[in-house]
Amino acid sequence: METKKDIRSRKPGDSDLKKAGKSFGSLIKGLFIPNRNSGRTVLEEEALQTPAQTIMKNFFRNRLGVLGLIMFVLILAFSFVGSQLRPLDLAFMDTSLRNIRPGTNFLNFPSQLAREGVKQISSGVSFSVALSEKGNLFVWGTEPNFNLPGVLEPVLRVPSEVRNANIVQVAAGDRHILALDSMGRLYGWGQNDHRQAQIPVEVTGLLRGGLQVVRLVGGELYSAVLLSDGTLHVWGATLPTRMETVPAYAQGRIVDLAHNALNMLLILDDGSVMPMGVRGNEFSTQIPEALQHWSLIDEEAGEPTEERELKVVQAAATNRTVLALDNQGNLHLWGSAQYGINRMPGEVLAGGKVKQIAGGRNNLMVLFEDGRVVYWGANHFGQADSARVLEGRNVTRIFSNFYQHFAITENGNILPWGFRGFAVGSDQFGRDNLTRLIHGGRITLTVGAIAVVISTIIALFVGMTSGFFGGFVDNIMMRLTEVVQSIPFLPLAITLSVVIGGRLTESQRIFMIMVILGILGWTGLARLIRAQILLEREKDFVLAARALGVKKANIIIRHIMPNILNLVLVSITLGYAGSLLTESGLSFLGFGVAPPTPSWGNMLTGSQTSAVIRFLWWRWIIPGGAVVFAALSINLVGDALRDAMDPKANEK
């Protein structure tokens, strides 16, 4: 008797079957075209490959199946390799970066600006505005606004009257720009929902009355202007921050200021500082005693008791800290400890004459007279790249707002570093969509996979015991299946998620979703397995095994199981696609993976308003498209697998 191994080791040329199956035409063809299997007959081919090989071969012959497999490998690599390469900071959130459209051109300044020489650069959340030495205005970056006339106007579209004017000073707010021309006229454009881009009549009046503008300030949702009489005028969304109420005793004595979203630090003419804006935060309560305006004032006289030794000459503010430089070259730093900004690095403490200080959103930097720049603070978007970018360059000026930084070297080059932009936009909390998509994919794909594994194990157990033992066991198992099947999936899943989920931590909740999907999703497969076993049980090979005295358990595992494995495999693949869709549906409704942990479903939560659907397309098309892409790839693979395993597919 010829064993299987013998057949396989036998060379095709030895076979007499081969001669029978070969026509004259194919002989000629074979001389010129190398062909793998055209020379073999059906019988021979069957003898030469195991069923698994046949399936593999059939599968790879199906172009759609291979496409699906490639798509799936891509999405796996995207999520799992990507999440290693691009770590996710769950705690990071900056609402000023909310809803920014895809674009990575935040740092791509026009080359003409470098040729003309930089006078001033000011950055908003996703764009920058610059003034060249020749007086030309440049804007670049990604448009943060939409076109709703009067409320939200594109900030990158410079109004014609500004283009024609001789601009001498610019300032970028978060999503608006202010400009001053040589005639003393102020212009504003961009986001205007709090009238921050509209110059108030009283300011226009003061300017007409002969006052000069000392400094333009573009804040977050507010604007301010410091006039030559030492008065500060603030407008825009000032109600929540009380920014409008400039202290009466400071008004008229202000020479400079540093600002962030919530506070301003006013530098007065006597060299002292005074905070304004939101009260009680680190910004205003931790000001060093020696710098405070009231420290040397005699309460009764209301006049300074002695001449101030320390005079603040420059100040820079980050989101929650302030750095101030005094006339003796000392640096003073106070505020929140977040990102370690309140600890000055050794290089700064080591000394050197400070030329300029600057603060971005969550970072501070100091420029020394010798052209070195020392940076410290957060590094979410590569802001800490300064060391690499500025290595060995002699920097003369730095401009820093939000997450974009520009250094000007002594020969006029512009060296940008920091945030380049969101490749696929940002969400309503200013989080990077791409990073969340990568990590969301990791969560969604894992939850779906484990849910399918759980449901398959249950289905195999129930289906096999019930199919093989029959009788009473079968009856019980089938009643159980009927019970689980009768309670509709989606309502029970969301109900259980609310009932159990409230008491769980975030990671337990993710686990709970897997278990819920798993224990509710097994019934269909269990019934299928049972039916298949009932069919297989009656076949001759089982009878033969029984006659040989094989144990019942062995018959199930070694003889019947391989025959239903195909079925299980196809069902696992198609079930996987289904559980991906279910998980994203649950998370979309808010009953699945809970934020801030991302999942493709919960990235879409809050995208149902027509404003989001219309303007912020990247917030729903991209995660939604990812779900479709992943589910489609898995379905393609499952479909091709089913065809490949279909015995009819091998008929010739």
Binding site: V498, V499, G585, G624
Partner: protein, 323 residues
């Protein structure tokens, strides 16, 4: 036949018992104090205690669990489903209008879905392997891979927002409109959610019909019919399709019943005030009597679907006799 029906009904009893037991367990596991939610928070401390005790007594929460369970079953059987805390009226009244809305929506969805899928499925099976078949196979695979929220949002984006043809969601308002205007507005509001549901359901049904037809077309009696020289039309419609109707009837019944519980996401997106949306809102508002009642209702529906499809099997297929 009667014996078959009775046997089937009897076998349902343990299933119903198990389902109600599971739902009762879920109800008891729900966080929050039902009695505390019922009392007026404005009461003085002493009165509050009294009111609380009263609420406990009225809800029967002081009784042992078995008593509570049977009381719940008894009341549900009498169609008294308890008090909806979020709607502040009996559950039965709270779901009446959403129920009507869902039925109306599903009615159109089913009509469109079946009138589209059955012809296409037959066509694909008859022309197996042709371009038409391949097209619908691939297209159905794509729609099969689309989550309903994505389909819904895309439709809103394309049709409601960009083309401004239809409202993006919500329900029509009766006040200040003539009846005809009201019905037109109703229809306009219903187009998008119905389309979403049809698109979602399309793929599965087309494939199912196609497979059922293929199965029927592969039988010996089809060969016999062809051998007899019958025209292809007669072979397909009166021999093959008649026989394919048995599995198709199952999917039809299941489609009808599963639409009730499966439309939660679509109804939420389009703010269609149906029972799917009521369920989601009730969960968000922790209105547990409403949640459990809806679950009970959905379970009852699917048991009924199961039962009806078994019976129709018996009617359509003479081979399935009392077994």
């Amino acid at each position: 036949m009667l014996k078959f029906i009775i046997t089937r009904l009897v076998s349902l009893i343990p299933v119903v018992f198990m389902i109600t037991l599971i739902l009762f367990t879920v109800l008891k596991m729900m966080p929050g104090d039902q009695a505390a939610m019922m009392i007026n928070p404005g009461l003085r401390a002493a009165d509050r205690e009294l009111a609380y005790q009263d609420a406990v007594r009225r809800l029967g929460l002081d009784q042992p669990l078995t008593t509570q369970y049977f009381r719940w079953i008894y009341n549900s059987a009498r169609r008294d489903f308890g008090w909806s805390s979020s709607h502040n009226r009996p559950v039965r009244e709270a779901v009446r209008e959403p129920f009507r809305n869902t039925i109306l929506l599903n009615f159109f969805v089913i009509i469109f879905q079946l009138s589209i899928t059955i012809p296409i499925g037959i066509l694909c099976a008859v022309r197996r392997g042709s371009i038409i078949d391949k097209f619908f196979q691939t297209a159905s695979l794509i729609t099969f891979s689309m989550p309903s929220f994505f389909v819904g949002l895309s439709l809103i984006f394309l049709i409601a927002i960009n083309l401004r043809l239809l409202p993006a969601g919500g329900m029509p308002i009766r006040i200040g409109t003539t009846p005809i205007e009201f019905y037109i507005s109703w229809a306009r509001h219903m187009v998008l959610p119905a389309t979403t549901l049809v698109i979602i359901g399309l793929a599965g049904t087309i494939r199912y019909v196609r497979n059922a037809m293929l199965e029927a077309l592969g039988q010996d009696y089809i060969r016999t019919a062809r051998a007899k020289g019958l025209s292809e039309k007669v072979v397909i419609y009166s021999h093959a399709f008649r026989n394919a109707l048995i599995p198709i009837s199952t999917i039809m019944i299941w489609t009808i019943f599963s639409l009730f519980s499966g439309a939660a996401i679509t109804e939420t997106i389009f703010a269609w005030n149906g029972i799917g949306k009521v369920l989601v809102d009730a969960l968000n508002n922790r209105d547990f009597m409403l949640v459990i009642t809806l679950n009970l209702f959905f379970s009852g529906l699917s048991l009924m679907a199961n039962f009806i499809s078994d019976i129709t099997y018996g009617f359509i297929d003479p081979r399935i006799k009392i077994n």
